[in-house]
């Protein structure tokens, strides 16, 4: 559990860390859309260049990026196997034990995998370089224009920030309960299926009990301090867009436009 890197903030000091969260979220959204546009290898290469540059500028270790990608590896492999079995179009690339493997199965899956990897890395950079609190401030600001159509921007931001705030707490809690139940002879790695199910039950029930308890305590504590949703609130931290933020947004927009052009055949 301690090796879980996805969504974890890394307290480093880099140009990416100092950027405005709104610019980072905006760039992430633009790149996400760009990733989903089928612009071929050139399109992905351009995105990859920007992402790799961002990784280097962010001073994040490659090991950290690898650890956030690793949990997905099993799924990606699984996806590949399923596609090889199911997709039967294109030309036959090679034959394994009399089973014909088609080109589409290989290449289309490769596209999906590249997409997923790029998406994970983009989100990892965002969450690893932006404090959860800044992230929610950014989301709140970005949602504010939608207040006209009754989108509760502040409440959504509050919910997200509470959820983010409690991820480490719940992970800690899970670790604690794992340890407590391990002390009572629970073995999460070995045993029959029935024993394993029992072991999981012994973790989930206490975790839920404590999560509900925490939720109630937090709600009471907030109300006791006069928290009322949808009332105007002041902010301690003011966000400010600087030159580098505009550069990031501009680059992301350019990549998106480029990919659309490739897709539509303008280039």
């Amino acid at each position: 559990m301690n090796n879980f890197a996805l969504g974890k903030y890394m307290p480093l000091d880099s140009i990416i860390h100092r950027m405005d969260p709104r610019a980072k979220i905006g760039a992430m959204l633009l790149l996400m859309v760009a990733i989903f546009i089928p612009a071929g290898y050139i399109g992905y290469a351009v995105i990859a260049v920007l992402i790799i540059t961002a990784v280097f500028l962010s001073k994040l270790r490659l090991n950290f990026i690898w650890r956030s990608v690793k949990p997905m590896m099993f799924m990606l492999l699984f996806l590949w196997i399923i596609n090889v079995l199911v997709l039967r179009t294109g030309y036959v690339m090679f034959t394994v034990f009399g089973f014909k493997v088609y080109s589409d199965a290989i290449f289309q899956t490769l596209f999906i995998i590249i997409r997923l990897l790029l998406m994970i890395i983009v989100t990892t950079i965002l969450t690893a370089t932006t404090k959860p609190l800044e992230l929610t401030l950014g989301i709140e600001d970005l949602l504010t224009p939608f207040k006209v159509i009754h989108v509760p921007a502040h409440e959504i931001a509050m919910m997200i920030s509470i959820a983010l705030r409690f991820i480490p707490t719940l992970i800690e809690e899970t670790n604690r309960i794992i340890k407590a139940q391990t002390s009572r002879g629970v073995d999460l790695d070995e045993g029959t299926l029935k024993e394993k199910l029992m072991a999981i039950l012994a973790l989930i029930v206490p975790l839920f009990v404590s999560a509900f308890q925490r939720a109630e305590e937090l709600a009471n504590a907030m109300e006791a301090r006069g928290y009322i949703p949808n009332r105007p609130r002041t902010r301690y931290k003011q966000l400010e867009m600087t030159f580098k933020d505009y550069v990031l947004l501009l680059l992301s927009t350019l990549i998106l436009i480029l990919n659309i052009c490739i897709w539509k055949g303008f280039i």
Partner: protein, 286 residues
């Protein structure tokens, strides 16, 4: 055989920016068949220390000998499950580990994990539920219907039912009312005296240390700052002051009397003895 730590170190988040050395080359021998208190400020490494005892945490340096097994940093340990049966660890706020439908089932969970058959497990559970003071009529209730203090008793019974030789308790009385805390400490003392169990208690309460423990280990900044017998520990107020420990009421009284000029030996830790000493001295003057 005593529990021995040899140059044991533990570093959290090894190899990340969050790396933190919680225990720094700790060497220590904890005597068998005694009640030992582990004290120290929050964050001093007490919990890290006790979690090595049943191999929940493995040392990142040095080694540890417990219940006839050696756990060292340079080899992957085997038979951890057997060790966990011999060393029962009760966590802080253990009531959070309850999950079964009924109290008796929850207490049976531990022994059954260690291969005890259903019938014996129920017998063990009933025995220890009685020892911790749970009413028989409650055995088939849901553990979530109990009060905080009762839940904790059930959780402790859950560890006791595994019949461990060494019982380790991490702040077992935190958040309990004084009466409940006292009963709890008496229970541990009884488990030590009647059932011959080695008991280790992490605590902040000096009154408990004075009245129920035999030995004291002081942990500070990942080091062992002091280890001695309890009456030895409360002999010198200078040491207590240095460790920023507020001495128990009896010791404070003893020191005030000594300051007033009474001839009281500094190893006296009992109120009755203190009264006798004062009385005989007053009589001697008359």
């Amino acid at each position: 055989m005593p529990i021995t730590f040899k140059e044991l170190s533990h570093e959290y988040n090894l190899g990340t920016p969050f790396a933190y050395l919680a225990l720094d080359h700790v060497s220590l021998a904890i005597p068998e068949g005694k009640v030992t208190a582990i004290i120290g400020e929050t964050g001093s490494g007490k919990t890290t220390l006790v979690q090595h005892l049943n191999a929940l945490l493995l040392p990142t340096g040095g080694e540890l000998e417990v219940a006839g097994r050696t756990i060292s940093s340079n080899e992957k340990p085997k038979h951890l499950k057997a060790l966990r049966k011999d060393v029962g660890l009760v966590f802080q706020f253990p009531e959070y580990q309850l999950f079964e439908e009924t109290i008796i089932k929850d207490v049976c969970f531990g022994p059954k994990n260690f291969g005890v058959d259903e019938e014996t497990a129920v017998q063990l559970a009933e025995k220890y539920l009685r020892i911790v003071g749970i009413d028989e009529s409650d055995f088939h209730k849901s553990p979530f219907d109990l009060s905080g203090g009762q839940k904790r008793r059930v959780a402790i019974a859950g560890i006791l039912a595994m019949d461990p030789q060494v019982l380790v308790l991490d702040e077992p009385t935190a958040g309990l009312d004084p009466q409940g805390a006292k009963e709890m400490m008496q229970l541990f003392s009884r488990l030590n005296k009647e059932y011959g169990k080695t008991v280790l208690i992490v605590t902040h309460d000096m009154e408990h240390v004075l009245h129920y423990c035999d030995e004291v280990i002081v942990v500070a900044d990942g080091h062992i700052r002091e280890q001695c017998e309890v009456h030895e520990f409360f002999r010198s107020v200078e040491l207590l002051k240095e460790l920023k420990i507020n001495p128990p009421a009896v010791i404070r009284l003893r020191e005030e009397l000594r300051e007033k000029g009474f001839q009281i030996p500094d190893d006296m830790i009992d109120v009755e003895q203190l009264i006798d000493a004062v009385a005989s001295e007053v009589k001697g003057h008359e």
